[in-house]
């Protein structure tokens, strides 16, 4: 009897514990309701005041069209702001610059009266996707929070293609536009074509999709063969991931036609190494023994940091020229202890450090003014995206996600990377000429925090080869 009573007491106690646990969830969530909104508004307005000076520079750009149509003066007090959601790895440089780039655009737009008479406001959630060990579910939880708790009316962000693919799967549920500014995977756009009604919410703003990246790379190789006709032996070295498996055949088809010979010993005609490898002596030895003069490098992960160091340490007589996402961030030089010198990589033409148009120029000027650093490739993507949304909302006269889609599809706007238009797959259209589409550039690392454009010819400076070649 005694034992039984104590037993009941225990179960009662545990029952209480459970209830407390449940209550905790409720508490957490309601906490989020109250806390997030004011926090970000205050930051938004504070930067807004600090950027009053930028008005002049901005109105002189292509955005003026937008401003003229929008209400000139709006007091953000009392008006319900439009929430622009930033879904990115906020503790990582890519996410930080992403948010700052978007914040810059928001500030500029709010200075000119916002959109539909309402100010824009950044809400952000951390997907932590820069850390490869973090599961997709973390990103999806963040996405859910940004929609259902922060009430974002549009999402800008994305970096790791598995996370973005998973996020794309959720769009039919949330029915709000998702502007991808990180992942270049073609399969993202394929979804839109195959099942438009479900996935029409997805748009790839920057970079151009991986196929276009390959196209750009190939035309660069053509140019390189013209300036350096003696370097023709190419060794294809790529991470063992699906996006590269899709690109390599394209390169294997076109490079020989441009006069190159692919010297890979592997049966696949390309050397695939595990994503996240740390030891590259095998690959670099194979490159050397294959007698290659060029390493056609395809790397999306941080592993290239180690790859390039091994390349430099072993003084492999072949120059790496290709796509290397990690190498696009300015910190790469430091990460590799300077080994990055001579590596030549593909970037958006807006990211070469030398702006191609006034918008780019102003973007660079304002960005470095407010944040005292140079933007990396995610920043201008986010910056452009905010303006795309602002235009669409202004034109549609609503913030309803589904209603916005046709207007986003009609986007015809100039940004730091060139003209922005979307194709059937909702990918930004690529064109070598930045006045006709999103353009690319090849840049070579030359010094700390600096790479110089070596392609397209319009901006090209001569390529320098490592002394050990």
């Amino acid at each position: 009897m005694l034992t039984r009573r104590s037993g009941m007491a225990r179960s009662a106690a545990i029952a209480v514990l459970v209830v407390i646990v449940i209550a905790a969830v409720a508490g957490v969530v309601s906490y989020y309701y109250v806390s997030t909104a004011p926090a970000t508004t205050s930051t938004a307005t504070s930067t807004a005041t600090s950027t009053a000076t930028s008005t002049q520079t901005v109105t002189s750009t292509g955005i003026s069209t937008l401003i003229s149509t929008s209400v000139k003066t709006v007091t953000s007090t009392g008006v319900q702001p439009i929430n622009i959601g930033i879904l990115a790895p906020l503790t990582d440089v890519t996410g930080i610059d992403e948010k700052e780039g978007a914040q810059l655009a928001v500030t500029e737009i709010n200075d000119h009266g916002g959109v539909l008479g309402r100010p824009l406001q950044i809400v952000s959630e951390d997907t932590q996707e820069a850390d490869p060990t973090i599961p997709v579910s973390t990103g999806l939880a963040a996405m859910n929070r940004i929609v259902t708790v922060d009430h974002a009316q549009v999402i800008i962000g994305g970096e790791r293609s598995d996370v973005v693919l998973a996020e794309e799967q959720q769009l039919p549920k949330y029915k709000i536009p998702f502007l991808d500014t990180g992942a270049a995977d073609t399969s993202l756009g394929q979804q839109v074509i195959q099942n438009y009604s479900l996935y029409k919410y997805f748009f790839m703003v920057s970079p151009v999709n991986s196929t276009s990246l390959a196209t750009g790379l190939i035309s660069f190789y053509g140019y390189f063969h013209y300036v350096e006709p003696n370097y023709t032996k190419v060794y294809i070295l790529a991470e063992d991931i699906a996006v590269w498996h899709a690109l390599v055949p394209v390169l294997q088809y076109f490079l020989p036609q441009l006069g190159f010979t692919i010297v890979n010993p592997q049966s696949a005609g390309a050397d695939y190494f595990p994503y996240g490898s740390t030891d590259f002596t095998t690959q670099m030895t194979n490159v050397r023994t294959s007698g290659a003069q060029i390493i056609c490098l395809l790397a999306a992960g941080q592993d290239s940091v180690q790859l390039i160091q091994t390349w430099a340490n072993l003084q492999v007589p072949a120059i790496p020229m290709g796509i290397d996402v990690a190498a696009e961030s300015p910190s790469f030089w430091g990460q590799t202890n300077g080994a990055a010198k001579y590596e030549t990589i593909e970037v958006g033409i807006g990211d070469t450090g030398t702006p191609i148009n006034t918008i780019g120029a102003n973007f660079y000027a304002n960005y470095s003014k407010y944040y005292n650093t140079l933007p990396i490739y995610t920043a201008d993507g986010a910056y452009e995206s905010v303006y795309i949304i602002a235009h669409a909302m202004q034109a549609a006269g609503t913030t309803n996600g589904t209603a916005l889609i046709p207007y986003i599809e009609k986007t015809n706007m100039t940004g730091p990377d060139g003209l922005i238009r979307f194709d059937k797959s909702h990918n930004v259209i690529y064109n070598e000429d930045y006045t006709k589409g999103g353009a690319l550039s090849m840049v070579q690392w030359t010094a700390f925090n600096t790479y110089t454009p070596v392609w397209p010819p319009t901006v090209a400076k001569p390529i320098s080869l490592p002394p050990w070649m």
Partner: protein, 319 residues
């Protein structure tokens, strides 16, 4: 009422609270988080069923989670099976894998099994890349069919699966099987001296654990409409260990509460991964050092009381 086992009382209380939750407090984000919690709770409970009862440490529960997810994704895309079908089938596939890995390794003495389980998910994770034609590499498998886009439906679905898992495993743990497993945990040699084939019993426990974990993986696959290599990540294996230790090992019910606690800390609060993982690392450390039985370790005695009642009908008095 007084006749009911304490465990049942607790179970009912938890059950009711969870069933009523969406009615009392319907919030999309909270529901999503609770759905995650339910899914992970299934994995934690299955981990506890094998490791808690047999004492053989499995550091690779993610193996079954990933296998289940990919099996479900593969069947949905290529055979066009719906979630209702893929979830149990994924469990079956997990059983096959469980036998394939368990049969040879479970004979290993001492630490060798524990260490071997550390390896298997790593191999599987790498295979998803090397065999990207089948597993889609980093793309994983996407565009999967889902049961529903409604948060409430998904919540109840996961809750149903979770409660079913808990009840079944509780039943088994308090049965003759559970008794055999616990005797193996306490002394394998003595257990074999009672005439049981120790390896077979361990294998049975292993594949039961695999089955439910596989279904959990399949459930997440349809919830996300996506399966990626991250389903094999050792994070998952370690998380469920922490959850079980927090809730109390070999209690079957404890891991559920552990799962809720940790998921709320990790995803609910949305703190940075470093902080949240740090949190469960420290939590794990503190509990292992300070509360060997976990926060709810005392439930163990209830499990035992329940078993005794079932096997010999009521508690016998001293002789």
């Amino acid at each position: 009422m007084a006749r009911l086992s304490r465990l049942l009382v607790i179970g009912v209380v938890i059950g009711l609270t969870l069933v009523l939750f969406p009615v009392v407090y319907s919030n999309d984000f909270a529901l999503t988080i609770m759905t995650f919690a339910n899914t992970l709770a299934i994995v934690a409970v299955s981990w506890d069923f094998f490791t808690g009862l047999t004492g053989r440490f499995n550091f690779g529960q993610a193996l079954f989670f990933g296998v289940g997810s990919y099996a479900a994704g593969f069947m949905n895309l290529n055979l066009k099976y719906g979630p209702m079908l893929t979830i149990p089938l994924a469990g079956a596939v997990a059983i096959v894998i469980g036998v394939a890995f368990g049969y040879p390794t479970l004979r290993l003495k001492g630490p060798y099994f524990a260490l071997a389980t550390l390896i298997f998910p790593l191999i599987a994770g790498d295979l998803t890349f090397s065999l990207s034609s089948v597993f889609g590499g980093e793309h994983g498998l996407y565009g999967l069919a889902t049961i529903s886009d409604s948060y409430v439906v998904q919540y109840y679905g996961s809750l149903l699966l979770m409660l079913a898992t808990v009840i079944v495993l509780l039943y088994l743990a308090s049965s003759r099987l559970g008794l055999a497993l616990e005797s193996i945990r306490d002394d394998e040699k003595a257990a074999s001296a009672t005439g049981m084939n120790v390896t077979n019993y361990k294998l049975v426990a292993y594949i039961i654990s695999a089955f439910f974990t596989g279904m959990a993986g399949a459930y997440q696959a349809q919830l996300f409409k996506f399966v990626g290599p991250d389903t094999f990540s050792s994070n998952i294996s370690f998380e469920v260990i922490a959850m079980t230790i927090v809730g109390g090992i070999a209690t079957i019910v404890g891991p559920v509460l552990g799962a809720y606690l940790l998921v709320i800390v990790l995803d609910g609060l949305g703190v940075s991964s470093d902080i949240s993982v740090l949190t469960y690392g420290v939590l794990l450390m503190v509990i292992v050092l300070a509360f060997p039985g976990g926060l709810l370790g005392r439930l163990k005695t209830n499990l035992r009381g329940m078993r005794i009642r079932r096997l010999v009908g009521g508690k016998p008095a001293a002789t």
